[in-house]
Amino acid sequence: MKKEFKVIAELLPNNIRVLDVGCGDGSLMDLLIKEKNIEARGLEIKEEHVKKCIYKGLSVIEGNAETELNQFPDQSFDYVILSQTLQAFYSPEKVLKDLLRVGKCAIVSIPNFGYWKVRTSLLLFGKMPVTKTLPYSWHNTPNLHMCTIKDMYNFCAAKDIKIDKILGLNGDRTSQIKKNNLEIKNLFSKIGIFVLS
């Protein structure tokens, strides 16, 4: 189980309704149902992942989050989760707005392009960074809109999206990110997890 999923599960209250956008094979949904008695639904674009979810008895809709979030009514979920996919959309802004329309709150995690290893790769070696969190090369990456934790922070402020909490993840370590430690955490977190409303 990914550390990130455990952190997300801990952020959520029990017995709520959650939509996992880009739910993959349903590992997070499984965790939320078992540990938090959460009513979980998934939206997933990859056919083979959709089938895996169905075999597990999970509720999943095959579809594209970029164009098909409109099928969910306003505020029909307590939380909507988007794990490390925001950067892959053509219009992250539109998706983010949709998430907050469908859910009362959203948890959005991003691979942090401000992480020191990413920065040094470009600075020292002059090459596009390839890391564990960002395993793709420049020519085959699905990531269209890479950003840093600081970018996301500024973006939310500019778009009047309320940030309830930010967590930085580096391996097994989790730490809370606030305005006063943003610069340093932006350098040392591999993943940023934003709780938005």
Binding site: R41, E47, V50, K51, C53, I54, Y55, K56, G57, L58, S59, V60, I61, E62, G63, E68, Q71, F72, P73, S76
Partner: protein, 375 residues
């Protein structure tokens, strides 16, 4: 006709056309056994030209049942494990109350005196069968095409009668294109002079030419353009050159003629008129004043909607619209599109990805249903 099981429906049924009927036969078949916990019953609804003989040898036509690819011992819907029920639709011609049955009032076959029925009538006529078989709550209700429409109607009309539902390649209302194709089939039947306003049935003949054309129309619509091209292309039928005639030179022509004329041996022309009409009248949002959201509200049923990428009769878009309606009503719904070239027919043929998906869904639903019953 001893091999047809029939239940007499003594409860009166008010049809959508406002006529009340009672004491009519419903022909059905079952496969497998209902277990002690009664958590393994699956109701299968057949499509336009199907019947209650889902799998194994059809005792009337002596051919393999229409869903033998999916249902049977060790199959995706495993009859060693599940109790599968299927009834012939009313309006049909495999033993259920339909236009070729004798009207007790006149002692003659109904023909066009048979009332125009709807998908809701068809589904409501089947509820008594569940009572009779001792099934309080089904594990799953499922069917493809018109069977899928019946599935959706069943869930809307009897919200708590099934734990899960799998509507396959269908829609919540018949599209203009589908109505048009059905009209083409009906006109083909009615244009045959033998049809004689449905009275052929009293003379013990059948408007074979018209009915065969109706079936050919259907068969074209069940395949995809790509599938048809790959299967037949421009291949000639057992000849090296054109015949310079109107014989079936091409394989695709031969195929259609074969399908058309094989069909008239087992199906009643008036039944085609009545059942296609029922499909055309199907519009769930029209039935419920608040639209589709109203139709599916208070559903506890867990849905899996399945579409096929090359199906142009009931497109992925239409199936997705069903999903949107179910979502808007807050129901528990899953959706999968099977990528295939086999068109609308995909649910009837050996399509491994489809079969794996339905097996995965039903098996996982069974585990959940069992656990829920235990609590």
């Amino acid at each position: 006709m001893e091999s047809i099981k029939k239940l007499n429906i003594s409860k009166s049924l008010l049809l959508d056309c406002k006529q009340t009927v009672k004491d009519f036969p419903l022909a059905y078949e079952t496969y497998g056994k209902l277990n002690e916990n009664k958590d393994n019953a699956i109701l299968v609804f057949h499509a336009l030209t199907g019947d209650q003989f889902v799998t194994g040898l059809n005792p009337i036509t002596k051919k393999e049942g229409w869903w033998g690819t999916a249902v049977g011992p060790g199959k995706a819907i495993d009859t060693d494990k599940y109790f599968v029920i299927c009834a012939n639709v009313i309006g049909g011609c495999m033993g259920s109350w339909g236009p070729k049955e004798v009207d007790k009032k006149t002692n003659e076959p109904y023909g066009l005196n048979f009332p125009v029925i709807t998908i809701r009538d068809i589904v409501r006529a089947q509820e008594t069968l569940l009572d009779y078989l001792g099934v309080e709550k089904l594990l799953c209700a499922t069917g493809g095409s018109m069977g899928g429409m019946q599935t959706l109607q069943f869930c809307a009309t009897f919200p708590n009668r099934t734990y899960s539902a799998m509507p396959i390649a269908c829609s919540t209302s018949h599209s203009a294109q589908n109505i048009a194709l059905n009209e083409l089939a009906r006109q083909a039947v009615m244009a045959d002079p033998v049809w004689d306003k449905g009275k052929y049935i009293k003379k013990n003949v059948q408007p074979k030419n018209g009915l065969a054309v109706a079936r050919m129309v259907g068969h074209i619509s069940y395949l995809s353009e790509k599938g048809m091209q790959e299967k037949f292309g421009r291949k000639l039928q057992e000849r090296g050159d054109y015949d310079f005639s109107f014989n079936a030179d091409f394989q695709v022509e031969s195929y259609l003629r074969h399908q058309g004329f094989a069909f008239v041996e087992r199906f009643d022309a008036n039944s085609i008129l009545y059942i296609t009409r029922a499909m055309d009248y199907f519009d769930l949002s029209r039935q419920y004043k608040g639209g589709l959201t109203e139709a599916f509200k208070n559903q506890q049923t867990k849905f899996l909607v399945i579409s096929f990428s090359s199906d142009w009769l009931y497109t992925t878009k239409e199936n997705k619209d069903t999903v949107i309606a179910l979502n808007a009503a807050g129901t528990d719904v899953s959706f999968a599109e099977i990528k295939t070239d086999k068109g609308h027919d995909s649910f009837l043929v050996d399509e491994p990805e489809f079969l794996k998906t339905i097996k995965g869904f039903i098996d996982s639903m069974h585990i959940k249903f069992k656990n829920e019953k235990r609590i």
